[in-house]
Amino acid sequence: MTRLFKLINFEFNRIFKILLVLLISVVTIQMVGTVKISLVYLNEIQHALEMGMSIEEIHTNYGQISFQRVTGSLWFVGPIFLGIVSVLFYIFLIWYRDWYGKNTFIYRLLTLPTERINIYLAKLVTILLMTLSFVSIQIIAMPLEIKLMSWIVPEQHYIHISAREALTNHIELSFIFKSTFTEFAIWYGIGIISVAMIFTGILFERSYRLLGIGLGIGYIILSVLLFLMPVWIHIMLDDYFYPDELYKLFILSALVVFALSTWTASYLLRKKIRV
């Protein structure tokens, strides 16, 4: 167990500097976006005032500004997608860098006196920590960005909305930011299981190389089908389950898929892996 924590610490430290740069970039870009959007709005107002429009007329024509104008822009959504793409990219890089990096670190990892599944678990936790870092920084940054906008835009033109409201109203981002703990646990649980499936797929490729690509993809497809099995049964039996039962079956199938992924990964790491 201690070695698992040491491995997690080691893996996380490997990405820490880049992650920090990415997190700072996310906040910086969004802050710059907030300032820019606020100033563009103020310019419009100024221009309208110079044209002799009254405040009421301005509000009718240009509206008041709220933080939602920022969340709807590329300045806000862009950095979030940068985070998502980074995590997706790192899901693959976290394994392949150990084989194809300048030094073949996989030799060391596989000859550590610990269960080899710990390597897999440490990488899985690192991806989770990376994801949660992006989510947390966003949750911390948003109230600050809102505050920044309220400083720039005069009160009479500004409509305050909270960070939660801004996110709840944002359909595209609602799959990242969850308003209840249960929802959060379900969606991020599905996320972890998906990453575990992909990791096992990668290990198929690392074990069987060319043939492994087919095996890996096959494994992922089978796992997804297994995970969706409750829905199949539900549809085939004409809405047989109550929502509560369906929910429990989903949790069960998720646990089965996760167990299958880790067991298969453990087998591949012990018996089939190649440096």
Partner: protein
């Protein structure tokens, strides 16, 4: 003792190892000899579970590979196995963190013996010093067996001499060593047992001292007979 019993290894349809058997004892230096592609590295990888085998078995002190194996066997491949951005000191800390068998005193001795600078980054090391850093990691573990893959490959003559010196020092004493090389001249006088490999099989296994005494042949003489037949 490391027992390699009738090991078969295939890459696609090609059999790289075709029933290889030999033993390596504690306190002896066993040398796997063969031309490039003879399967020497594959054998070392198989002993450490770094490549799957398709037949036969490998036992270390009578037991198959497990996580405990790596507190008994240390593998020094021909490539550095630590991250380029790590300093030698970071490497030593990492090893001490993960291996119960890490011997800090010995690591310090080896650091001094090879005149390595603990603050140097792995990426900045010359080829010779990289090989020495690799040896530092492998030799500082209190293990029964050390596996070395081509430790002299591509390094300068002074580094070779320094590394060869290790074999006669207390750093190796009482431990079992399996070493692979295709440049036997560097270590011929140091090895206790030779295992000659060709086309995935052991062509001959002999104790070098016994061969010298009984038949008056050096390892190179035997190699000439076996490989040039």
């Amino acid at each position: 003792m490391i027992e390699v019993r009738n090991v078969i290894k295939k890459y696609g349809r090609k059999r790289v190892l075709n029933g290889v058997s030999f033993t390596a004892n504690k306190g002896e230096i066993t040398c796997l000899i063969g031309i490039n592609g003879a399967g020497k590295t594959t054998i070392l990888n198989a002993i450490c579970g770094l490549t799957p085998i398709h037949g036969g078995e490998i036992l270390i002190n009578g037991k198959p590979l497990s996580k405990q194996t790596f507190e008994q066997v240390s593998y020094i491949p021909d490539t550095i196995t630590m991250l380029p951005q790590m300093r030698i000191q970071d490497v030593m800390d990492f090893m001490g963190d993960f291996y119960d068998s890490w011997n800090t005193d010995r690591a310090e001795q080896i650091l001094e013996f090879f005149k390595l600078n603990r603050n140097d980054k792995i990426a900045s090391l010359s080829k010779g010093n990289t090989a020495k850093a690799n040896l530092l990691m492998g030799l500082s573990l209190d293990v029964d067996f050390i596996l070395m893959d081509e430790p002299f490959s591509g390094i300068d003559i002074f580094s070779r001499e320094q590394i060869a010196e290790v074999f006669t020092s207390h750093l190796i004493e009482d431990r079992g060593v399996i070493i692979t090389t295709h440049e036997i001249q560097d270590i011929e006088h140091l090895i206790d047992k030779a295992v000659l490999l060709e086309d995935g099989v052991v062509r001959m296994e002999f104790l070098t001292e016994e061969m010298r005494e009984k038949e008056g042949k050096s390892v190179v003489d035997v190699m000439r007979e076996v490989y040039q037949q």
